[in-house]
């Protein structure tokens, strides 16, 4: 039976390394992908990710809403990425929902994906605005986060999550269809 965030945070705060490792395992991909969306170079991305985890270590006994930890991590990663982008002089404007960069940053490498549909999906995701990417990353979690929790951690009204989710997925589908790919996968094609 998987331990709750509350239990893992409490154990990690007492110095329990396996509990901390479990948190890194649970949310490592989320933090990584949120950071990657900001198009920093590899070194800056790794620094932003590491500093995000170090901030969690600082706040281990102070996380008020353990169930909202994914959103906390996403928000913290965003803050660190924005700081680095500013240091590099690459931010044009930034508000709660969007970040406009002066340039596209390093190219995302789709070479590891063999299926054309996967490459199209990867490219389509990259076209989404930051708010949509972060929301979808939080919704991809296992188990999926409750809208109330996502809203709270991102500072969005609960009632806006459903419509925003629908809008973001529509944008994703539109971008996919623009590459000539139909979404979602047809049930008969599942492996």
């Amino acid at each position: 039976m998987a331990l709750t965030n509350h239990e893992l945070l409490a154990a990690a705060a007492a110095g329990d390394q396996p509990a901390w490792d479990a948190l890194v395992e649970r949310y490592g991909n989320l933090v990584w992908h949120v950071a990657r969306g900001f198009r920093l170079d590899d070194v800056d991305t790794q620094d932003a990710v590491q500093t995000t985890w170090l901030h969690l270590v600082e706040q281990l006994d102070r996380i008020r809403e353990p169930q909202a930890l994914p959103g906390w991590l996403a928000t913290t990663a965003r803050r660190e990425c924005l700081r680095l982008l500013r240091q590099r002089g690459r931010v044009v404007t930034a508000d709660d929902a969007t970040v406009d960069l002066a340039d596209a940053g390093p190219a995302v490498d789709e070479g590891l994906l063999r299926e054309e549909r996967d490459r199209a999906l990867w490219r389509a995701f990259a076209t989404l605005r930051e708010r949509c990417r972060t929301l979808l990353l939080l919704l991809m979690g296992d188990p999926p986060q409750a809208y109330a929790v996502i809203g709270e951690s991102l500072g969005l009204p609960i009632g806006s999550i459903g419509p925003t989710r629908a809008r973001c997925l529509d944008q994703l589908r539109t971008a996919l269809e623009g590459s000539g790919i139909t979404a979602p996968a047809r049930a008969s094609d599942e492996r």
Binding site: W32, H33, R83, G162, E190
Partner: protein, 158 residues
């Protein structure tokens, strides 16, 4: 507003595909995962966190594009409890020189923690110290020898 259950049924495969594609195309590198695991070793125990108050490389509002100071050293200020730590940072490439000033006065042991490990120094009578560091995550742990005060500066990226 409730979601239409039929929308959820269509969305779930797409989200699952997206999760799979992200994991295949761009997984977190093993070094990054290992580094994240090692972060627990830096937990504060009895230390108070001195929060970052000002950073000449940023501004309060989330507007940017123009650096705060015209080419001078980066200046940072941290505060926690009664402790204040001011830093000036210069450097080129991945090397950094950090000049620090801490208060209140006293004999203060300073441990600089960062990408290249930990370095211990002692601040002088004025609370000043200098340390060489590497670009990347950075935090100072300050301990006042004659008082039960220990402060960790909030992690930043040099």
């Amino acid at each position: 507003m409730t979601t239409d259950p039929r929308d959820d049924a269509q969305d779930a495969p797409l989200l699952a595909d997206l999760a799979r594609v992200l994991g295949e195309a761009d997984p977190a590198p093993p070094d990054t995962v290992l580094a994240a695991r090692s972060a627990l070793a830096h937990r504060a125990l009895d230390a108070e966190i001195a929060a970052l108050l000002t950073d000449s490389d940023s501004s309060d509002k989330e507007l940017a594009g123009v650096r705060g100071t015209g080419g001078g050293p980066r200046q940072l200020s941290f505060a926690g409890g009664v402790a204040v730590v001011d830093l000036e940072v210069e450097g080129e490439g991945r090397a950094r020189l950090v000049r620090g000033q801490c208060s209140p006065p006293g004999v203060v042991d300073v441990v600089a923690r960062g990408a290249s490990g930990s370095v211990g120094i002692v601040a002088d009578d004025l609370g000043q110290f200098v340390v060489h560091a590497a670009a990347g995550p950075f935090s100072l742990r300050l301990s006042w020898r004659d008082e039960p005060r220990q402060v960790d500066t909030e992690w930043i990226v040099l």
